[in-house]
Amino acid sequence: MAITLRAGGRRVGRTRVRESYNKREVLAGYLFIAPWIVGFLIFTVISMSWSLGLSFTHFDLASNSATAAGLDNYKLIFDDPKVLTSLFNTFVYAIMAVPLELAFAMVLALLLNGMVRGSGVFRTIFYLPKMTPHVATASVFLLLLNGNVGAINQFLGFFGINGPQWLTDPHWVRPSIVMMTLWGAAGSMVILLAALQNVPRELYEASEVDGANRWQQFWRITLPMISPAVFFLVIVNTIAALQVFDQAYLLFYRDANGSAPDAALFFGVYLFQQAFQQFNFGLAAAMAWLLFVIILIITLIQMKIGNKLVFYGGGRND
């Protein structure tokens, strides 16, 4: 940190704590970052304020005019059962998807990490789904998950299991989307793998001398040492899960006239429908802000809990 506070090399000789700026350098610096400043003003500052403003209006797209609505849209959020349903579905999905993806990614990473040979090949195989565009994944899974002729139920049939109607049974539509998410677990896997490779081997060697078994090593050494990476993944995966859209839309809401089960109505999908199919920009903006606040609160809670649980190996002295 000290380095970044110090002025440029030419002025190091001066014994000043506060740096004095070189006018030309300051100007050049602002010019370099100007694109971001302009973009930030348009696509974040103006955008966010506009969205907030919209949430207090009834917006008419045809005439491009808005009439004041006070808190109507926010009241509507709590009156519209579909908003609450979609919020519930999204939470249920997040509660299933985030831990499962993390656990699955952890298993894969641990297996890869202990491999002597061939880990590169397997890592590549596991990563391929992550490279596949959602729309291709969805078009395949839509047919794989088909309750009557899909490959998944056919496979379950070999074991005498009568597979559920993945795409229509309200109890199974969310797990089917979780399954698609798990197929792409390699994104989290590579992060865990990198963290595992950073754990000093001396720790394992020392613990072996002390007679620790694999199980103990995992809980006492591995997990604490990689906990910052786990924490990071919990936060970003939760944020992603709460915004899930592509998979749910592609599997269930592609057809505007389709009859998708309510259990598949995620917040992101309902927001999209309200905004771009019903053109209820006011309500949609209010929903977007609600989502923003929810994500903010959940992230803050996670950080608060995380800071107690996460082990920051040497170097942190606060």
């Binding site: 302009v38 973009g39 490279m131």
Partner: protein
């Protein structure tokens, strides 16, 4: 060796990142190579170790089948005639290689590929150039408010995309560019927080003396970027380009919002696949020609596989550094 992990981004200094989240990023950075062999060989006994390795291999192969099955299914389905697409056979009963010729007549796939390619190249190129410029601005120059502004860059990374979706649509509406591909790359002219962060990490690692010497020799500020910083950062720049190319190529919700109301010829491949899937579905009066959807799904996937094959290591290290994007 694939086990040897290098970090093409350069080592970011954990202390420069804000908050504890950054420690997660820093911890995820690979920096040392490892040799699992020496560790494993010291297990309690050789036999137990051998059995462990065999079980591990079996598990890995099992998971690989799980991960590869949908691809195999997709390829097989793309080679079947209508009516057999859903039969779940990995070797088609009737081979129909014609699908690969016919699909270009059945769907405006060529136009879709062209649109997707154009948008992805523009999006990736613009965001790479603008983010590099901004990143160098933050890394090299000293100006008032630098830390505050960079803090805003980092904060904006956490902003959920859903919140700005609607107003951004309205912003593009006022420009009159709805229905064109401009909204799909326009915002990339202004840099993107993730990439600015990534590139700044790299530029901050360059020795300052290098630039001071060039300044003494009369190099302009822009010259510092164009002649020294940018060429040195080519590997990181390529990562950023590839990442954005992938994001743009795979993007579904963007084209859905900005192009869906136009003519199908203007669609990107993902939007086109969505359109075709609906068109062929019996509920919409189609005849279930899903084999064409499967060919199109392969067409949208293959460029990503090629990119991945060429830049796998950079890709995974990049993914590790950036974390999960969207």
């Amino acid at each position: 060796m694939t086990d040897q992990v290098t970090n093409p981004i350069g080592n970011p200094l954990p202390g420069q990142l804000p908050g504890r989240l950054a420690s997660g990023v820093a911890a995820a950075m690979p920096e040392v190579d490892r040799s699992a062999e020496s560790l494993q060989a010291r297990g309690p006994s050789r036999i137990v170790y051998r059995i462990g390795q065999i079980v591990r291999w079996l598990l890995m192969i099992g998971f690989s089948v799980l991960f590869l099955y949908p691809f195999a299914w997709l390829i097989a389905a793309s080679l079947k005639p209508r009516g057999e697409v859903l039969d779940n056979r990995l070797v088609p009963r009737t081979w129909r290689l014609d699908n690969y010729v016919e699909v270009w007549h059945q769907l405006p796939l060529l136009a879709w590929v062209g649109n997707s390619m154009l948008i992805a190249v523009l999006a990736a190129t613009f965001v790479t150039l603008s983010s590099s410029l901004v990143a160098f601005g933050f890394a090299y120059f000293r100006f008032p408010g630098r830390k505050l502004l960079f803090g805003l860059v980092l904060a904006s990374m956490m902003l959920p995309g859903a919140v700005t979706l609607i107003p951004n649509y309205l912003i593009w509406k006022t420009t009159g560019w709805l229905g064109t591909n401009v909204p799909l790359w326009g915002a990339n002219l202004f840099g993107s927080a993730f990439y600015i962060f990534l590139m700044r990490q790299f530029y901050s690692g360059l020795p300052r003396d290098l630039f001071e010497a060039a300044r003494v020799d009369g190099c302009s500020y822009f010259g510092l970027f164009r002649r020294i910083a940018f060429p040195l950062a080519i590997p990181s720049t390529i990562i950023v380009w590839i990442f954005e190319f992938q994001a743009s190529w795979s993007n579904f919700v963007g084209p859905l919002i900005y192009l869906n109301l136009g003519s199908p010829k203007q669609f990107t491949v993902p939007l086109g696949i969505n359109y075709a899937m609906t068109m062929y579905s019996p509920t919409a009066g189609g005849h279930g020609d899903y084999q064409y959807v499967m060919v199109a799904s392969l067409v949208v996937t293959i460029p990503m596989m090629i990119i991945f094959a060429f830049g796998q290591r950079y890709f995974i290290e990049g993914a590790t550094t950036v974390g999960i994007r969207g």
